[in-house]
Assembly symmetry: C2
Homo-oligomer: 359 residues x 2
């Protein structure tokens, strides 16, 4: 087992990474003082892992709420069912909300933990690669609004993250690839060496080589933890984690939540950000080619769907959380491993990217 | 104008109290850097004061969302309409949410400010006595759930509170009395001198004497500010502000939100807490009589409605946020001006209170 730390003063917490951690009651028990645990999971994950987790919590009052699976259910309405369960079980302020699932489950459970009785304990047990390498770490929680992704939420840190690499064996290929998109992101924004490692090891990751997966998860979490520790509330460097996300959220919202997976939309979005960076003469030919090639080799889309018009994409991008004074600020690349937030680009070049990077 | 401070480190903020402050753009402008202001108000308050406030914000992009009036609308569904308005107006992370209304508006607007894009600016302009003396100060925000009051929310401090005493002239008598309930609360829990002042000045307050109202608001806010500064997240002394609230929330939820005003339910709840304290031989005969008498003279209920059974009340009280390990902890009185949180009382005496304090 590998232990990483997210350093946030009195809200610091560990990330445990390893095979077979799901049933490790020794990791969970010290955090559960109130003896009341609400497991939030979904229809896909619960049949596979709920029972093992319940067994590890045998001496607590354990209840569960099973959400429908998919980004289209990350709504206030579905979120409210978590409160139904908490209140029906008479859970008090000393209870723990435990997320067992992917990013959607983690985001909703975390926002419910932040909001139930104005804040209760929270533990993340991510079961997708995307959640293990990205969404479970850093405290971003929330739900979608019909007009914009993740527009309602809270910064709320978990008390620990338990990434059991063994659960990835039941992940379907499409979900695995979606997770690799966020792994590639860390290489692009700040870790050139990791990007090179990924170029060499994409086949191993796609073949679910356990050693390669563990290495990718550790390096991703290490990068994430460093950024979150430096800028918890995204007033600076944390915004770099949004590489490809302004484009990506527009694709997800425009296509209807759940149609494209988040990681797929981010993959295309990263390529679009790279393309725009290239048009702005910041990213050279070779770096652009390496970016597009790695995303493609990971079996991920490099372009937005043709069905979304340039105008439609622009309109959806205008509700991004990085917008300031009406200006769409984007994460752009200066090189592989070097990114910055910029709102001072030529809008005509953004239109070119949106026009040409659709397929 | 009187200025009080809520001392919370880098989240400290002023409370301005005085006549005619609503239109004072000099108080508002320094806080509005992003130039985008979403006024959240309700159908009753907006026709009276929205225009004057908009005029004070003439050089900003001002939008408004008008909620239906009443506790029964403090729901996730109505709350979501604030996000509709924010997103339709394309408001960014630099925007301000401004609550213009009573406690319901302030709670919902504050929770929306806490949650929109994971947190934007927030200003309170309370327009009821209850909101001016209590709910606008201290950062408790949230909405109700069908199974429990204020069960979904956040601690989120405003950047300032502007209490314009002149707006109380349009408050109806029932709302005025409901506000007085929370004023009496401060006397009961920690300010014996203020309680005596209230015994002398209840007629002046009911007659809307401006000097008396200003005195009551200042002393209430001063008490509230001191408690919040000492214990922002209610891990200790802040729980005393819940005197009467466990009983009161049960009445509100049991009767259906909006049937009893919050202040009315709290008034009855305070008398029930005093009655139980008396049965426990903590509060003497005279103090109990003074408490009941003052509440009655304020035109407020001293008992719960007979239609709610003891069992029903007990069940509703069991979802209170102060419950710990299944035990209903209550704020009880040792004397006028002295309170404590206690879960070690004889449950049979609580049943007696619930049985007898209904009318």
């Amino acid at each position: 087992m590998k232990i990483l730390g997210v350093d946030l003063g009195d809200r610091s917490y560990p990330i445990y990474i390893g095979a077979g951690l799901l049933g490790r009651s020794d990791l969970l028990q010290p955090l559960i003082q109130g003896r009341q645990v609400m497991i939030v999971s979904n229809e896909t994950v619960a049949p596979l892992y709920l029972q093992a987790l319940q067994a590890a919590l045998h001496d607590c009052q354990v209840e569960s709420v099973i959400l429908p699976d998919g980004e289209q259910f990350k709504t206030l309405m579905v979120w409210n069912t978590i409160f139904d369960a908490l209140l029906e079980a008479r859970f008090d302020r000393g209870c723990i909300v435990l997320a067992l699932g992917g990013g959607v489950v983690g985001d909703m459970a975390g926002f419910a933990a932040a909001s139930y009785q104005r804040g209760v304990g929270f533990i993340q047990i991510p079961t997708t690669l995307l959640a293990q390498v990205d969404s479970s770490v850093g405290g971003k929680t929330g739900v979608n609004h019909a007009l914009g992704k993740n527009m309602i939420g809270a910064f709320y840190q978990p008390q620990c993250v338990i990434a059991d690499t063994r659960v990835l064996s039941t992940l379907d290929d499409r979900q695995l690839r979606a997770g690799i998109a966020e792994v590639i992101k860390y290489g692009l924004i700040r870790d050139r060496e990791f990007f090179t490692w990924l170029e060499d090891n994409i086949p191993a990751l796609l073949a679910r080589d356990e050693v390669a997966l563990a290495y990718a998860i550790e390096h991703s979490c290490q990068n994430k933890a460093e950024i979150v520790a430096a800028d918890e509330h995204e007033s600076g460097v944390r915004a770099l984690l949004n590489l490809g996300h302004t484009f990506g959220h527009a694709i997800e919202t425009g296509m209807g939540y759940g149609c494209w997976l988040h990681g797929e939309a981010v993959a295309a979005g990263m390529c679009m950000a790279a393309d725009l960076s290239h048009r702005l003469h910041r990213l050279d030919d070779e770096a652009l080619a390496r970016c597009l090639s790695l995303v493609e080799r990971a079996g991920l889309p490099v372009m937005a769907p043709e069905s979304l018009s340039v105008e439609c994409l622009l309109e959806l991008m205008a509700v991004d959380k990085k917008v300031q004074g009406g200006r769409i600020r984007l994460v752009l690349l200066d090189a592989i491993g070097q990114a910055r937030v910029d709102g001072g680009y030529d809008p005509a070049l953004l239109r070119e990217t949106l026009m040409l990077m659709r397929a």
